[in-house]
Subunit: 425 residues, 3 copies
């Protein structure tokens, strides 16, 4: 995968005013459809009950700004959509500095950063500015204009199924509700859209279901409509987020730490070009919260470069393209695609008859013996010795401390010689 | 619990000439009934077969002493009931020093201590004295008077059931057969009597069955009469012994080390104000020997301050109120009562619907989001995330490295909001 | 066992020209029958299909040598049967040094050693010489005479069943196809033949089935004829190889590392007079390859002194009686016989009634109590406390960190007193 292509896409969707509903969300889904033409964009009406939640009214912003006593536009949503609290109520009026301060959010410890603040489920208006700008505000009257509205509309998400040989599905998701922040979260949609494209151009063993939805309410709405199907068909699941920086790799395990997804990511983590930090389900914070909740319990692992919470620019205007790079996105793509490739080649085999085969008769053994032969022959014998129909190749690779692709190649050679039989998963 | 109150009680029962039968045992049970008026004192006749054992004849002592060649009463049961071998046969006669020596017990390594010696199941007479006193004995004839007798009578134990909401029982026991020694064993009856009083004044979830019996034969007699009931109803069990000193805390695990009792004591041990030593079932030595035997297999953990065998005064006259203190007894009471409280709040819950609830709609979440919230909200989300109907709160507390009472408080809040449902245990 | 007796036997069979078929194999089996008169020598005809393998034609050698340009017999099978590639085709002719070199095998890193080379399943002729001798060969014409032939005959193995009280069998094997090398492999047949003799003179609980077969093809041929019986009856299995040197002890675990054979060898390994190296099934290389293959899956552990591959003389003429000694063979015999004795005494018991027995009533307890008694009484109480009908004595010995024979003695005392009941295995 070309990192520059990923970066170009990320930059193209960066400016949209995304939220859990609205035009910015839809524009993002349409941009993803530019990469994945088969993507279906779905809608859930405002007011729909989804488990414990109710889909909120849609939110739309025309303009939002603050003019200071000298007539300067000191805060302007047009300059950065983080300036307006996400889901802010509309408001027009003149307020004193004191009144204004009660509606401002800034970060004293990060004085140059505009924080990201949301208010989805309450009625309030507010702005976010950097601490440095806030300190410059003078006494006097401020003109506040927030031309936003909330109205019965819909919540949207995008979904695509890439069919494979098997009905069993690998479920992949990310979220598309965060406004102009690069790692969290244009990196996830960027990497996942292109992973979907890559999957569409391959012959896959598993079917791949990919969902782009707003975080939390979008995941919950999606789950409430597809619960039974997912319970029945999903064999492994990955959530992609904060997957575009170059700092490290990381992943969040499932609650049991023992699902196929966990085993896959642990194997891949050992072969990444950099460090990979393992987190427990206690360290969750993205949509694995919903997909891994007790009554849902899908085997979902979250894949990150640097995990949300763990980088200082998180949820501020500093999360920009100094954090996310072509190289970082490419690494994130490779992390995810290696998980997919691991799943694809992780078959289960069983020996065809008792005892070792006579490899020589099958053209697989040096004909003059007496010394250990090493190399491919030994690996083939090891794969045969552990292929009891129960252990999958991933388990055998872990036992042998051998990369899965080597093990899979040996197994494939043996299967072609009718010395191993592939069991349907 | 007031430590002085415990100490006063301990001192009041200290002097009784306790044995596995007899008046000293009955007086002790009556003293406990002073604390627990509902205690029922039961009797098993001498000669009753209890599994492999037969309840022995009752033992009664009127007086016992030795007069030296100079006419001095050099050993006198009236001065300390440890002087007479417990269950000594009666004997009256004149013996030489050599003959007397064959009937004396002392401890050369602890020259000031009178040892505690028993002879329940053999016919013999004997005295125990300190090594220092023994060395002073002069040649000549000694007058020995042991006015004791064994006769068909009964073995007694005390039992009380403190009913709770549930029929499941927590079984608590200690032993009441040791004569004048403070830690082993007036501390156990003292702490358990007052724990019973404390339980009687609470509304409990579990029912509590408390038994005060002579060690070994009493436990076996009790078990032989109540085997089926205990097998059916007991959910956790604790044996209290050597629980009145200030030196350390300790406990003896069950054979499997994995019962509810083990899990409870491990959690409590981590929160005690001092060190707590964990022993295996191999280190057993009290009535967990019977309750934990293979065909009984009750989940019994023994709770101690300093374990029997592990303090130098053990089974001697040095085990007095320089070892057992108000502070030590209070700590023992707290150890046991914290095990009880842990059991009481250790419920199992299950989520009410898939995915996280919308905490804000239930008044349980800050309405303006965007940053991790920490504190109570995070703990509630963690408790929800692990409440799969299988893990109890104790397991969740261990996963979260969080005290159980915090976890239980969060679970209770969630249950009151109908976000968790309590499963019957 | 007398080490010199073992050494004498080893030396007596050392010179035979063993291979996977032929007279050398049969002479070896007949020599073993000298130790084990009940041994049955069986035959499988050439051409018989055994799972994936076909029993090859028999191989017979009359003479084989090379004469150099000066008329010197520079290589002669009569001097050392390793000189001829095992299963070499016949050949008579004059060849140049260059042509000859293409048919020679030597070891540049071990210039004094004649290597052991086989060519069972291909058509080729060849000689093995030391690197030093090879370097002396001069230019010119060489006379090569290999008077060998391959013809439809049979493959032989020896089998004996030593019946015990139980139908359950312990399976013991080694291989008899290696020519004149001492550790690999006259040590295995030597030790196993004498182990069989020792077993024949004992009353055993288990039945012992002992098989002497050519490696790989012999094991496979044997397994193909006895598969169902072995699957049903074998409770533990040991393969003996390289078991006559003094350097160390070692064993190769089964795939699961958790069978009775594994548990037995781990216990014995801790009590050997020297170090014992534990290998995983990944380090296999002898007939455990066949017996432990997935669809066979017998619980076979391989016992060695120094494992094949791990000593420099392996598979060369240096593997002689400077490597294998009387002391080394005796240690190997003890290793194997201790595994047998461990199996024999590893029974499973269950308590006869709830609670501890009254040991005193059964003559098993000091009658005057009050202090821990230690020693045999404590061990008996421990054995009682863990004999739940599930744990066998080996498991109890591991829990108690106590040699199995002590535990078994205590259990036996208790069983004789009707305090434990032996469960049929």
């Amino acid at each position: 995968m070309n990192g520059e292509e990923l970066l170009d896409f990320a930059k193209s969707i960066f400016p949209f005013n995304r939220s859990i509903t609205g035009d910015g969300l839809r524009r993002t889904l349409e941009a993803i459809r530019g990469v994945l033409p088969e993507l279906e964009i779905r809608a859930v009406p405002s007011g729909t009950q989804c488990f414990d939640w109710i889909v909120p009214d849609e939110w739309s912003v025309n303009e939002a700004y603050v003019i200071d006593p000298h007539g300067n536009r000191v805060i302007d949503f047009a300059a950065n959509n983080l300036h307006l609290v996400n889901y802010s109520d509309g408001f027009v009026g003149d307020v004193s500095l004191d009144e204004l301060q009660a509606h401002l959010h800034s970060l004293p410890d990060q004085p140059t950063a505009i924080p990201y603040v949301t208010s989805y489920y309450s009625n309030a208006w507010g702005f976010c500015i950097s601490e440095n700008e806030r300190r410059k505000l003078v006494e006097g009257n401020y003109r506040v204009v927030i031309d936003s509205r909330k109205f019965p509309g819909e919540l949207n998400f995008g979904e695509i199924l890439i069919p494979g040989e098997l009905n069993e599905e690998i479920f992949l998701t990310t979220y598309v509700c965060h406004p102009s922040m690069a790692n969290n979260e244009v990196s996830g949609p960027t990497v996942l859209a292109h992973l979907g494209k890559w999957l569409s151009n391959r012959n896959n063993r598993f079917s791949y279901r990919i969902v782009f939805a707003p975080e939390t309410i979008g995941a919950i709405a999606y789950l409430s409509k597809n619960f039974t199907h997912l319970q029945k068909h999903v064999k492994a699941a990955f959530n992609l987020t904060c997957i575009g920086d170059e700092r490290t790799y990381s992943y969040i395990s499932t609650r049991s730490e023992n699902t196929l997804s966990d085993r896959v990511v642990r194997h891949v983590a050992n072969q990444l070009p950099g460090d990979c930090r393992r987190f427990s389900f206690q360290d969750r914070g993205s949509d694995e919260r919903q997909y891994g909740s007790p009554l849902v319990n899908l085997p979902m692992v979250t894949l990150c470069r640097t995990r949300f919470y763990d980088y200082p620019e998180y949820h501020t205007s500093l999360d920009d393209f100094s954090v996310v790079t072509a190289e970082g996105l490419k690494g994130g793509f490779n992390f995810a695609s290696q998980c997919v490739q691991t799943l694809e080649i992780n078959k289960t085999y069983v020996a065809q008859f008792p005892c070792e085969p006579q490899l020589g008769r099958h053209g697989l053994y040096p004909l003059t013996g007496g010394r250990p032969t090493g190399g491919d022959t030994n690996l083939m014998l090891d794969v045969l010795a552990y292929s009891d129909g129960d252990a999958d190749l991933l388990e055998i690779a872990e036992i042998l401390s051998c990369p899965l692709d080597h093990v899979a190649k040996a197994a494939n050679t043996l299967a072609n010689a009718n010395l191993l039989r592939h069991l349907d998963n």
